[in-house]
């Protein structure tokens, strides 16, 4: 009993420290250093949400999806096209975009979750995602083809024209809500079932679980939140191009999860932060960024196979044990 009280007290302490930090970040970065760093902070947030929603499929569902760029891109494109071509209000466009992503997740998921084996699953999701990419790329009259969409009309309330602070809070609130929902999902009985299924599908079947249904639901939830990340991305950049649906985007999000640690809830978010910041700073300094990025990734994968968050988690557990004894 005392243990529980103690841990909830320390959780409160963590929140007490975290909340002021998150509130102060935009003012410190934009007023103190440069607007650019606030933009980077938001970019990290968007990618963190994308990586974490993807990780629901990979880390918890054991589904190596190579097609998550499609959901991200469908979210971004649906929202942008609705705002550009119709006078649809923002809330409606946002909702429509995330449901479009979830619907795409349902269709692709329905056709792929039955497939056993990481390699085949990756291949089929990759093919579907590339299909979406080609559709956006070639349908020039509707999607503007490879020229992409520019000047997405973002409402004044969250516009980034003058300052990024308003948008920071908008993105922060949505990201926190989404992460909370994801946390609830993985902690729920459904989440536990999903994990048991990842570890030992045969046994789960003997318990009477319908494997496909669980995997499908997880896949759709994951697609939904990827769509949310896509919309946040479109508002941040105000310009999108078909390459956000390209397979390399799916690859990036896989890397983030692996790098951060796919078996720790916040792992992919850490991976996203590392990837976005490394990518930004290295490309500003040298033309040989692929070399630097590659070496860093190899070192991390070789020495910290559980990812960066995995390492922290491991250290933390050891420390706790030591303290207890």
């Amino acid at each position: 009993m005392q243990e529980v009280k103690k841990s909830s007290a320390s959780a409160w302490l963590v929140w007490l420290i975290l909340i002021p930090i998150f509130l102060a970040i935009p003012f410190v970065l934009e007023k103190g250093i440069s607007q650019y760093y606030l933009y980077l902070a938001i970019k990290v947030m968007v990618w963190a949400l994308f990586a974490m929603s993807f990780n629901l499929a990979l880390g918890y569902g054991g589904m190596m999806s190579f097609g998550h760029a499609a959901f991200f891109g469908i979210g971004a494109y649906t929202c942008s096209l609705l705002l550009i071509k119709t006078s649809c209000p923002l809330v409606l466009a946002f909702a429509a975009a995330t449901f479009a992503a979830a619907a795409a997740g349902l269709i692709i998921g329905y056709l792929s979750v039955r497939i056993k084996g990481i390699f085949f699953f990756a291949t089929i999701t990759l093919s579907f995602a590339q299909l979406a990419y080609i559709l956006v790329f070639k349908w020039r009259s509707f999607t503007f083809g490879d020229d992409g969409i520019q000047g997405i009309p973002v409402p004044e309330m969250i516009s980034t024209d003058e300052t990024y602070i308003k948008y920071y809070f908008f993105a922060l609130v949505i990201t926190v809500i989404c992460i909370y929902l994801l946390w609830k999902t993985v902690r729920s009985p459904f989440g536990l079932m999903l994990r048991s299924l990842r570890e030992n599908p045969e046994r789960a079947v003997f318990f009477g679980m319908k494997v496909e249904n669980y995997r499908l639901i997880a896949f759709v939830i994951s697609a939904f939140f990827s769509g949310v990340a896509g919309v946040l991305y479109a508002f941040l950049e105000t310009a999108i191009a078909p390459d956000i649906l390209f397979w390399s985007m799916s690859g990036e999000v896989i890397l983030m999860s692996v790098l951060g640690g796919m078996h720790v809830f916040l792992g992919p978010a850490i991976g996203a932060a590392i990837m976005v910041l490394l990518n930004t700073f290295i490309t500003s300094y040298t033309e040989y960024w692929p070399l630097c990025l590659g070496i860093t990734l190899i070192l991390i994968v070789l020495f910290f196979p559980g990812g960066v968050a995995g390492l922290i988690h491991e250290r933390y557990t050891i420390w706790r044990k030591k303290k207890a004894t």
Binding site: Q35, Y36, D146, G148, Q150, I244, S284, E287
Partner: protein, 416 residues
């Protein structure tokens, strides 16, 4: 500590130091404040065949400006950022360059989606953005605005120039083959517009749109010949021309029927295609190192050879970059300022002297009025690469969309 643990902590430590070093390294903070020019382009990957020479072109113009003392002693400093050919990557760099580095001007871009995305950001931040390779007509057309300029040709100028040149030929039955992406369609549509304008009565016997980066054109080639066209127009981007003409060469296409292709005349193509470069094809580009044989052009080629080890400079690359750099530096000198509004005023209607003669930046759409050089590919003993004969320069005033057309397109885009 075990060996593995030691390595682990070493890696961690090195990573920390590196991260710190990268994030806190201060910028240049000495002497007179330089004028900062930020160039964003695909400096890694397949496009470097064009982007690296274009960067050299920019450098050449900037060096000329700096050598003459700059703007009252202020020199231009170039900062480059790799776009990786991705739109989001480039807007990230544009933000960094403007918000953090505080650049005065932006330039560069090869991919049109990258150009449009950066252009949108430049408009918001009220900074001049000079496009040096991207061709989409939308950039200075319907998506054009006060802050965007283009010192290289646009797809509609290139297409219309082809149509104008083709109208001087006797061929009546045409077949169009093009790459199925924005540039391919844009240049083909404008070719047909130009051709039908100056020669009514021509007929299109067919068209084909193989996918971008197609590797096998055999079926397209046979289907094309079955339609018995009198001439063929190939609407490909520079990178697509390479596999197409390699296979067309094996097929003997150029010996069977006259083929017209913009971009094929560029020295990059003859450098890459080497022996597969089709001879007797009708080709064009926006700059030729062997024509016109004026002292200005010879001096330019000599400079490219000495400074950048590039004895056969290309139009898409080095000449495009040089023209852009020249426009910008001349405008800065004319305005005697680096203030955006003043430089825009100076740029509008500015005529620069280039190795191929004067080029004007049109005030109404901020598009450089570039000529095109058409001719028949051939081989001469003076040069190791294929060159062109019977060269025909299309006059810019005949092949650019009118200001009225541009305004109408912009209005229509706004109403949508």
């Amino acid at each position: 500590m075990s060996f593995q643990k030691k390595i682990k902590s070493l890696v961690l430590f090195a990573g920390l130091i590196l991260a710190l070093a990268v994030t806190i390294t201060p910028g240049n903070a000495s002497g007179e404040k330089p004028i900062k020019l930020g160039l964003i382009d695909a400096y890694t990957g397949a496009a470097t065949a064009f982007t690296k020479p274009a960067l050299n072109g920019w450098k050449m113009a900037v060096d000329e400006f700096n050598a003459k003392g700059g703007l009252n002693g202020r020199k231009i400093e170039i900062l480059t950022r790799d776009s990786k050919f991705k739109a989001d990557e480039s807007t990230g760099h544009a933000r960094e360059l403007i918000l953090k580095e505080g650049v005065d001007f932006l330039g560069g871009t090869t991919s049109s989606s990258v150009a449009l995305a950066v252009s949108e950001f430049a408009r918001k931040k009220k900074k001049i953005f000079m496009v040096s390779i991207s061709r989409s007509h939308r950039i200075t057309g319907e998506k054009g605005h006060k802050y965007i300029f283009r010192g290289c040709p646009s797809a509609d100028i290139e297409g219309l120039a082809g149509g104008y040149y083709a109208s001087t030929m006797p061929f009546k039955k045409w077949y169009i083959i093009g790459e199925d992406y924005e540039y391919g369609h844009s240049i083909a549509d404008n070719f047909w517009k130009g051709l039908t304008k100056y020669k009514p009565g021509v007929k299109k016997v067919g068209e084909a749109w193989p996918k971008l980066r197609e590797t096998d054109y055999t079926s397209y080639l046979t289907a094309m010949m079955a339609k018995k066209p009198e001439a063929i127009y190939a609407a490909f981007g520079a990178s697509g021309l390479i596999p197409f003409f390699k296979q067309a060469g094996l097929f003997g296409l150029v010996d069977k029927v006259p083929v017209f292709a913009f971009g094929l005349g560029d020295s990059v193509l003859s450098k890459v295609l080497k022996e597969s470069m089709p001879l007797g094809a009708y080709a064009a580009t926006n700059y030729l190192y062997f024509y016109p044989e004026t002292p200005a052009n010879k001096a330019f080629v000599q400079k490219c050879k000495e400074k950048y080890n590039d004895p056969y400079p290309s139009g898409i690359g080095i000449f495009g970059g040089y023209s852009c750099g020249k426009f910008l530096t001349e405008a800065i000198l004319k305005a005697q300022s680096t203030k955006t509004e003043k430089v825009i005023k100076a740029l509008e209607g500015l005529t620069i002297n280039t190795p191929i003669g004067p080029i004007t930046m049109r005030a109404c759409d901020h598009q450089a009025q570039t000529p095109a050089f058409w001719g028949k590919t051939t081989k001469v003993p003076e040069y190791p690469l294929a060159t062109m004969k019977d060269i025909f320069m299309t006059p810019p005033e005949k092949v650019v969309p009118s200001c009225a057309e541009i305004n109408a397109a912009r209005k229509a885009a706004k109403a949508r």
